[in-house]
Amino acid sequence: MKKLLYLVLLVAVAAVSSCKQDQYYLYNDIGRVQFGPEPSRIYTTSYDLADTLKPYTFYYEDAAVKEDTIFFDIYAIGGTTKTDRAFTLEQEQIPNAVNAVAGTHYVAFSDPKVSKFYVIKAGTVHTRVPVIVLRDASLKTSTPKLKFKIAANADFQLGEPNKIWRKIEVTDRLSQPAQWTASFTQYYFGKYSVVKHAFLINSSGEKWDNDFINNLYAVGGLLSYYQLTMKTALINYNNAHPGAPLVDEFGEVVVFP
């Protein structure tokens, strides 16, 4: 009988102690801040890491254009406050890469020209983060990378580790637009190359930049139209150059899938 009592007690203790709330980090201890997709995509999980890298080129711009602004979206988590809250950005050096130089390739994050915008306004949880890139002569021959991250300050601690950084690749040469995505590569126009990009521009008279590619998706049927007409243009080019098909900078024959 005594054994049975011990057994019941053991089961009861096990039952009571087996359920315990997991210590999830609720981010409600203090205001935190992290990057994210544009607001319309904030609840779409597949866009969680969108805009991590934004390539930019001055290639299409008039020679008089000496700087441009690239925007990212940033979100405060942990609720709103009644006062404005500033956040801090800082560059992170990338090993074995050409890193952008403040004042040469971009306006330093501490420069009031941009730092004054690094604020989550009272009563809000979102703002757009401007990063000003500069058209330095070196961009004609190089593509420096600017990786930057959020630094903790008096107003904000850091958000999720994989959402506290962003990267820009800036150049003055033709470069892969951000919208030339993996799916754009796989389903429509194949592997990116500068030669292919220039061919598309020359054949169509269009820029094939982010806006143009976005419009391809927006206008029903337009993407298929360009797929077919650019494929035709490439065939015609290769027919006009027997034995010398269009070859890209990697030494590979340019193809459209």
Partner: protein, 509 residues
């Protein structure tokens, strides 16, 4: 201890409802099973009687309407009134709608829904449309059929009077697309569209208003380098095809599109030049089939997809290859479509063509064409001068009915040829001086508007006549049911009504 716990949880007070009273029934009287109304003219005036089996029922009402044949978005119920009776001026675009009447007993919360189809029409949404030209420009005439399939009135030159000018070129086929995408209502949606094609241009026309939507200059994503001859017709998989100057373009209508045709299909990986015949085999049940006059080769396009024409393989025993057969097509069309049972579960086509040998133009062949996907078998019958068909013109097939071909001879005779036994028969002779310009067989099954006509178009002194004949066992039966007359030369005719869709009649020569 365990027993005590079990006993404490086992007993629970039963709060179930055992009142098995008969459910409430709300009855609505005074609403028809369907309505046909003219937009911006007719009022929907309804005074229904409403009663309930609940003695103390307190009703509230809601009238709403939503459109049918919507693609790419969910239909939205537009509230018309919250009163018992309805007195509403119909403003909706001409197409199919559903009127919803909801009666709710506020006491019990029970609601009864009445759903009634409403066909909104305009004066242009019903009648016989005739594509015609004056030798250099084309137009549309409409023969009105307010009460039966036999016309009682006429509106001439409607296309030019509404759009300000005629369409350049001589008229070709007239076709109808029921789900063509346009923004004529302000938002992108399915638009019932008549397509007037000529040898120089093409116009998509909103059948509700007869206003043109696009012409060849803006019907493609870029300006065409050649202008005509044009044909537009539907194919399987909700594809639409445009033939322009021997090139083919498509719209994949189940994908997002704005009513513009895509790029020119390639023939192969080398972009070898081609020139497709104006004759084709296509309807909404399967692939579209074309004949390249340059290489004398059949090609297919499935569901409008792809960047290149698909080649056709020969079936063992074919009398002539589908590829490089050194023929010119004098006529080609679709005779029947057959649905194969499981496990095939697909349509196969039987078509018919008249070929002329490129090397020896006196050699002509009548071919029966059996098509299954991307394979083809041709069964040939040589034609000689003894065959009336040898010198025939204006050929046409009777899709889905008798195994007959109709054609004209000598400009004024209508002949039929039995494709099973090659028997040829003079069916009709138009009066002296008239010259036959087309022959068509078309059918419709709409209640009070059913028809199964062989129609013969002819011209004389700058005017046209279209005689509409009933058919009996494949032959023309008696005198014309009606003869449509107008100015110019008629090239095609098509009946349009709210119930007509792009699959009602196979578009072909």
């Amino acid at each position: 201890m365990m027993v005590v716990v079990a006993m404490m949880t086992a007993c629970k007070k039963d709060h179930s409802n055992y009142d098995y009273k008969t459910g409430e029934k709300i009855t609505v009287k005074g609403i028809e099973s369907s309505y046909t109304l003219i937009s911006e003219l007719d009022r929907l005036t309804l005074t229904p009687e409403v009663s309930s089996t609940e003695p103390n029922a307190q009703f509230e009402y809601l009238w709403g309407i939503y459109e049918t044949n919507v693609q790419g978005s969910a239909p939205v119920l537009d509230t018309l009134a919250k009163t018992k009776d309805l007195n509403y001026l119909i403003k909706q675009a001409a197409k199919g709608w559903v009127l919803v009447y909801r009666v709710t007993n506020k006491t019990t919360g029970y609601s009864q829904y009445i759903n009634v189809p409403v066909n909104v029409v305009t004066e242009f949404t019903r009648g016989w449309y005739v594509a015609k030209d004056d030798g250099t420009q084309s137009d549309l005439d409409l023969f009105l059929t307010p009460t039966s399939i036999v016309p009682t009135g006429k509106r001439e030159n409607l296309y030019s009077s509404i759009n300000g000018s005629k369409l350049p070129g001589q008229a070709n086929l007239l076709s109808f697309l029921s789900a063509y995408k346009s923004t004529v209502t302000g938002t992108l949606g399915n638009t019932r569209t008549l397509v007037l094609s000529t040898d120089k241009d093409v116009a998509t026309v909103n059948v509700n208003t007869l206003k043109k939507i696009f012409t060849l200059d803006n019907l493609l994503f870029d300006a065409p380098t050649v202008k005509g001859p044009c044909q537009v017709f539907p194919g399987g998989g909700s594809a639409y095809y445009l033939l322009n100057g021997g090139n083919v373009h498509s719209i994949v209508n189940i994908s997002a599109n704005i009513g513009k045709f895509g790029g020119r299909f390639l023939k192969d990986a080398n972009n070898t030049p081609y020139s497709l015949s104006k004759y084709f085999i296509s309807n909404t049940l399967s692939n579209a089939y074309f004949f390249d006059e340059t290489s004398s080769t059949f090609f297919a396009i499935g569901n409008g997809y792809g960047t290149a024409l698909s080649s056709i393989s020969d079936v063992t025993g074919t009398a002539m290859s589908a590829s490089n057969n050194n023929q010119k097509v004098l006529y080609m069309g679709l005779k029947s479509a057959t649905y194969l049972p499981s496990p095939a579960l697909r349509y196969v086509f039987t078509g018919c063509a008249v070929f002329q040998d490129k090397s020896n133009s006196s050699n002509k062949t009548l071919s029966s064409i059996d098509i299954d996907g991307y394979t083809m078998k041709l069964t040939n019958t040589s034609l000689t001068n003894a065959d009336k068909l040898y010198n025939g013109a204006n050929m046409t097939l009777m899709y889905g009915q008798e195994n007959l071909m109709y054609f004209s001879m000598g400009g004024n005779q209508v002949w039929s040829r039995n494709l099973s036994n090659n028997f040829e028969k003079l069916e009709y002779t138009v009066p002296a001086g008239e010259e036959i310009t087309f022959i068509r067989h078309k059918t419709g099954a709409e209640t009070n508007y059913a028809y199964n006509y062989i129609m013969v178009g002819s011209k004389i002194n700058g005017t046209y006549k279209i005689r509409m004949f009933n058919k009996a066992s494949g032959s023309i039966s008696g005198s014309p049911v009606a003869t449509l007359e107008g100015t110019g030369t008629a090239k095609d005719i098509l009946y349009i009504s709210p119930s007509v869709s792009e699959s009602t009649n196979t578009i072909q020569w």
